[in-house]
Subunit: 257 residues, 2 copies
DNA sequence: AGAATAGTGTCTATCAGACACTATGCA
DNA sequence: TGCATAGTGTCTGATAGACACTATTCT
């Protein structure tokens, strides 16, 4: 079956001697293709709560329902111009929906959702990304150039809100990925401001994992992060209602002397 | 931009009162769409070596080069018939390429590769899966109904073999996912026969991680797996050139009494 | 008996939770 | 001085590596 035009390769090509000759003669066939979108699960942490940005749909289907931001991957004409990379599409949608420019947020693909009939209109395959917005940037998020409303939702209050399409599944998968990765990756540093205290970093872990962390064990963790060169102390102290706290910064950029 | 037909939603829909009315009137638009394929990284472990199944391409582009098995996702007409799920497509390709029926192998999506120009012909977005073949089933793998050669390659010998398309990247990502997940998931039990010894399971970990494991610590791990109800002892002993070894089996199906 | 493989006991190092304790600011 | 928050010291329990030791089969 693979060698047939319908499911194997794009066309019968064995009679071309060189790859150049083949490509020059190649014409894209017109078999049915799915639409491909990127969907974004945009996270932030505010007051020990993990929050996600949703938009309210203005049109059918699922008119009025809340949904993940997203949009189509632009593929050009598919031959001379193959369009934008998936990451480019995700960054473009992130900026369109939130106003946050590329580079201000961590963005990572985590799964692809392509079940038949997940969109009632036509076959749509959606590559899902999660974005991490530092808590101090959360305020800057505007509704985008979209007429629809955009707002931050706590995960806890989302239990009773039906989301459009299979977006509840996508959101659940994103949370699972974030929870699994935060202990073995520097993801947490993308959810705190560039300068942060031990308590702020701990609150990020608590919000993501949904369980309290021992402040004392967490200080040990901070000391190990310093010993390993992952973070370092920054100048100054953060003053609050008690003893001023040490301020840290992520050190990954300075590890190369 | 999202509200325009080209990049926002599939069509302007705000003038429909109900979702049913909208769907009845909906016609798929004809914007450029990418081709979508599934690619398979099929792993097995033989004699402490992690191996992957590759096929040799019979046509351009990359004629003669070794590549991951894969093929197009069938999407029907995209409206009344939206075609097969991504997992179905992966299972279908696995059976076509190896003769291994659905259910005999573990299959999991791990990433999607959609960079522009990764296929010189046209825009192709590929959802990558890895499959785990039990070592005792490895022999049953036939070349499939494809004329091209299929053979198992050790990861170590693949360093000098250039793969087609971006398949070297896909393979590297698959190995990274497998390595990261094997310690925190039951994946290893899909790489050994249904009945296995401690040494066989240990060899799977060694092959996947690429480092030797202490046999003594590994026995402790077996005892904990039994205590946690993950595995259980099977009847009989495996006889070899030394003391016969205990035989174990995965217990996940029997945890519910 | 000796080789070969399976499996245990025990010491040690590492790390997390628990909790008592000290440190340093503010009102 | 009392309160609030930051941060340390230390005990305990769980787990991995190292290694000496025992167990069971084959030749």
């Amino acid at each position: 079956m693979r060698e047939s035009d319908a499911s194997g390769k794009l066309s019968s090509t064995d009679h071309f001697d060189t790859e150049e000759a083949f490509l020059a003669a190649y014409k894209a066939q017109d078999y049915p293709k799915p639409s491909v979108t990127v969907d974004l699960v945009i996270f932030t942490v505010e007051t020990t709560d993990l929050k996600v940005l949703l938009i309210q749909r203005g049109g059918h289907p699922f008119k009025g329902a809340w949904a993940l931001p997203g949009g189509f991957v632009l593929v050009g004409d598919g031959v001379k111009d193959q369009g934008e990379d998936l990451e480019e599409a995700a960054h473009r949608e992130l900026e369109e929906e939130t106003g946050l420019p590329k580079g201000s947020c961590y963005l990572q693909q985590f799964a692809t959702f392509g079940e038949a009939y997940r969109d009632p209109r036509t076959r749509v395959i959606s590559v899902a990304f999660f974005a991490l917005v530092r808590s101090n940037l959360m305020e800057l998020v505007v509704a985008g150039d979209d007429a629809a409303a955009a707002s931050w939702w706590s995960l806890s209050e989302l239990g009773s809100v039906p989301l459009a399409f299979d977006h509840a599944d996508i959101l659940a998968a994103a949370v699972a990925h974030l929870r699994a990765q935060i202990d073995v990756s520097p993801l947490a540093f993308s959810l705190v401001p560039a300068m942060f205290t031990a308590a702020e970093l701990r609150e990020v872990f608590e919000a993501v994992k949904g369980v309290p962390y021992e402040a004392t064990s967490f200080h040990r963790r901070m000391r190990r992060l310093i010993a390993d060169g992952i973070i370092k102390e920054a100048r100054g102290k953060r003053r609050g209602s008690g003893r001023p706290s040490t301020v840290y910064q992520f050190a990954a950029r300075e590890t190369k002397p």
